[in-house]
């Protein structure tokens, strides 16, 4: 045991020594700090009491998209002097229980996603009955009003898919591959169906194991090898775009890679031309608006949308806009 401790201390000391000696003169945190260059952060700007808003989403663990939504919501909460609570679960039943918990806590407003509307129905009804204003975001626009929410903030997935189909037509594509990384996700099916609706060529769906990037890469690669007529690949999430690019290189395919949603890497790839276009639904805006609308409702009984969903997308982003968005994506807000 003592000998083992000696080894550990030697190893740790060696690692620290090596890390001091082995610096990288490019990239990394130092470059990021240099980029940040004093962008001052403002504090709360209102004099309303400290309300509490709970946001409950159907996000899985470690999802980039929901991280951006949360950043937007947090920013609005800081500005509106609101205490912001965030929780999430990708199982409908658990998500409903989280809403119940927020109602039990007696929060002043609830932001919720309705990806599984049937599971959420009674929990949302309970919140409305308790007099808590509810705003739905991202998914469930068709159920939002029925459940008694004030407003829905999000993107209509079918409309977004249709926008992609039209963009593919403009680019003269013939065969598109729609890559679904979550089997059984209704929103994903709607996106691919939307593409199919407006796209003049053929659309083929492929399901991949979203939690395993290597498997995603080899599945898309296999599909591209099996079907050489594919000239456009549409991924439904930003992290999968880069993987699709790798798969395309492996397969020696000429297909153009396009994607739903943005992240830093997608913005950079749009800029250097490895990706064709991205269709963005502005997740930051979804989080920000939802919290801000709750504040407006409590402060001034304002509602937005006149009973219709407030759309945050689709916004087609190409090479031209990518340069401007890259720095925003880097800081986790686009």
């Amino acid at each position: 045991m003592a000998r083992f401790r000696t080894w550990v201390s030697i190893a740790v000391a060696g690692a620290l020594g090596a890390s001091l000696a082995g610096c990288s003169s490019t990239g990394g945190k130092r470059a990021e700090d240099a980029r940040k260059a004093a962008s001052a952060q403002g504090g709360g700007a209102v004099s309303t009491p400290r309300w509490t808003v709970a946001m409950i989403t159907h996000s899985g663990d470690g999802d980039t998209f929901w991280d951006i939504v949360q950043n937007g919501a947090q920013q609005a909460a800081d500005k509106d002097n609101i205490k912001f609570l965030y929780s999430h679960d990708d199982e409908g039943q658990q998500q409903a229980q989280l809403v119940d918990a927020a109602v039990d806590k007696g929060v002043d407003g609830i932001v919720v996603t309705l990806a599984k509307p049937d599971a959420m129905k009674s929990a949302v009804a309970r919140a409305v009955k308790a007099g808590i204003p509810v705003i739905t975001v991202n998914s469930g626009s068709e159920k939002s009003k029925e459940f008694g929410a004030l407003t829905h903030v999000g993107q209509d997935e079918t409309i977004a898919g249709e926008a992609v189909g039209e963009e593919l037509n403009e680019r003269g594509r013939k065969t598109a591959l729609c890559v679904l990384h979550e089997q059984g996700n209704v929103g994903h099916e709607q996106r691919c169906a939307g593409v199919r609706k407006t796209f003049d060529g053929t659309v083929r769906n492929i399901y991949v194991e979203g939690t395993d990037m290597s498997a995603v890469q080899s599945s898309i690669g296999a599909k591209l090898q099996a079907d050489s007529s594919v000239d456009a690949v549409v991924t439904l999430g930003a992290p999968y775009a880069a993987t699709a690019v790798k798969a395309k290189e492996d397969a020696g395919s000429k297909a153009e890679i396009d994607t739903f949603d943005l992240n830093a890497k997608v913005a950079a790839s749009l800029k250097d031309g490895t990706l064709g276009f991205a269709v963005d639904q502005q997740p930051y805006l979804q989080g920000y608006e939802a919290v801000d609308l709750l504040w407006l409702y409590r402060y001034n009984a304002d509602t937005l949308g006149g009973g219709r969903p407030v759309l945050t997308g689709p916004q087609i982003i190409t090479k031209d806009q990518a340069a401007e968005l890259e720095s925003y994506a880097d800081r986790g807000t686009r």
């Binding site: 190893a11 740790v12 690692a15 090596a18 890390s19 082995g22 610096c23 990288s24 003169s25 490019t26 990239g27 990394g28 945190k29 130092r30 470059a31 990021e32 899985g60 663990d61 470690g62 999802d63 980039t64 991280d67 679904l180 089997q183 769906n205 492929i206 399901y207 939690t211 395993d212 990037m213 290597s214 498997a215 890469q217 080899s218 599945s219 690669g221 296999a222 599909k223 090898q225 099996a226 079907d227 992290p239 880069a242 993987t243 790798k246 492996d250 397969a251 020696g252 992240n263 830093a264 890497k265 880097d330 986790g332």
Partner: protein, 357 residues
């Protein structure tokens, strides 16, 4: 065509527990071959290969096979030490997320310290080995079942992957390190592409073959290999004849974490940013590959080559379905059915072999 199926080397000493009479008999090479744990899986692999070769267009083309081999290698690299661990009578449920942890550690250490990427890779190796040591140490000290110990590690690592990444990077995926010094050379080692005769093969295939060879040599040619079979066959009996049980089990867990480090670095250098929520559920894939390859859930029986064949079956099925262009709605169903059939065939061949042996 059959070159993709590794043929099992004939070992002079069958590792199965045999009676005194058997040891004095001079067995024929064919007999010995029939007694190998991976024989059933080789037959299963051939069946799966033929099946997809017949119905899936593009499956038997060189580029298609390279894709299948890559898919198999990402599973196989982890299936080798997991098979050894199962022969030693233990489970590791933390193997899947450990791969992600390892990738996150290198990436974030390099980025935050603005250090050469190789420094992060080294630190990641040390930390990942420490996780493996923790698993083995807890197991041997507490005497709790490995299922419980590694389930705890699995949950803790899953949480730490998310928590630390968010704490350090401010987002749920790491920032890219592709523009840092040392990235290019590390990429050559962990995620390069070798072009042989116009076909691109991923370097992970070489890592996989290397690990299988090393593990086979340890199992069949060294004293440590005998210890692994002994602790899996019967811990108390092994201890009674002087086998260092605790050290063997800790070593096996560290073997898993070493392979997790290799797989994690591949993940990092092929995608240069890592999503922190990945890897959950992969541990079952590795265990399935080992079981298809002839490892018994109860321990004491199995082989490294078998785990490779199991990973190959997994890779062929997974990608064969894509090549066959079947309706994707049924994808999971076919995958489950193919795996079940392969394992049944495997068990049936083993039974026949034992009956004639």
């Amino acid at each position: 065509m059959t070159a993709t199926i590794p043929t099992p080397p004939v070992s002079p000493t069958p590792p199965t527990g045999s009676t005194a009479d058997d040891r004095l008999l001079r067995t024929s090479p064919l007999r010995r071959l029939l007694g190998r744990p991976e024989l059933g899986s080789v037959v299963g692999a051939l069946a799966v290969f033929l099946f997809f070769a017949l119905i899936a267009d593009g499956f038997v083309r060189a580029a298609g096979l390279a894709t299948v081999l890559y898919a198999a290698s990402t599973i196989g690299i982890m299936a080798v030490p997991v098979a050894l661990l199962m022969i030693g009578g233990e489970f590791d449920l933390s193997a899947g997320v450990m791969v992600t942890s390892s990738a996150l550690i290198s990436s974030m250490f390099s980025y935050q310290m603005t250090a050469n990427v190789w420094v992060g890779v080294g630190v990641s190796l040390l930390v990942t080995l420490a996780i493996g040591f923790f698993n083995g140490f807890m197991l041997t000290r507490t005497e709790l079942p490995s299922f419980i110990i590694t389930l705890g590690t699995f949950l803790m690592l899953t949480g730490m992957n998310l928590g630390f990444t968010k704490l350090i990077s401010g987002t749920v995926s790491t920032k890219t390190i592709a523009d840092m010094e040392g990235f290019a050379s590390a990429k050559v080692l962990f995620a390069s592409v070798l072009t042989v005769g116009g076909v691109d093969f991923k370097v992970t295939i070489l890592w996989w073959i290397g690990l299988v060879a090393l593990a086979s040599w340890i199992l069949l040619r060294t004293r440590v290999g005998n210890w692994i079979f002994a602790v899996g066959g019967g811990k108390e009996a092994a201890r009674a004849v002087g086998v260092p049980v605790a050290a063997t089990k800790i070593g096996l867990y560290m073997g898993v974490s070493f392979a997790a480090w290799i797989a994690g670095q591949h993940l990092l250098f092929s995608f240069d940013a890592v999503q922190s929520g990945e890897g959950v559920g992969k541990e079952l894939t590795y265990i399935i590959a080992a079981v298809i390859g002839g490892c018994l859930i109860t321990g004491g029986y199995g082989s490294a080559i078998g785990s490779a064949v199991g990973a190959l079956i997994f890779g062929m099925t997974d990608k064969g379905i894509v090549f066959a262009e079947w309706n994707p709605d049924w994808f999971k169903f076919f995958l489950g059915a193919m795996l079940l059939l392969a394992t049944l065939l495997n068990a049936w061949v083993r039974k026949r072999a034992e009956a004639t042996a």
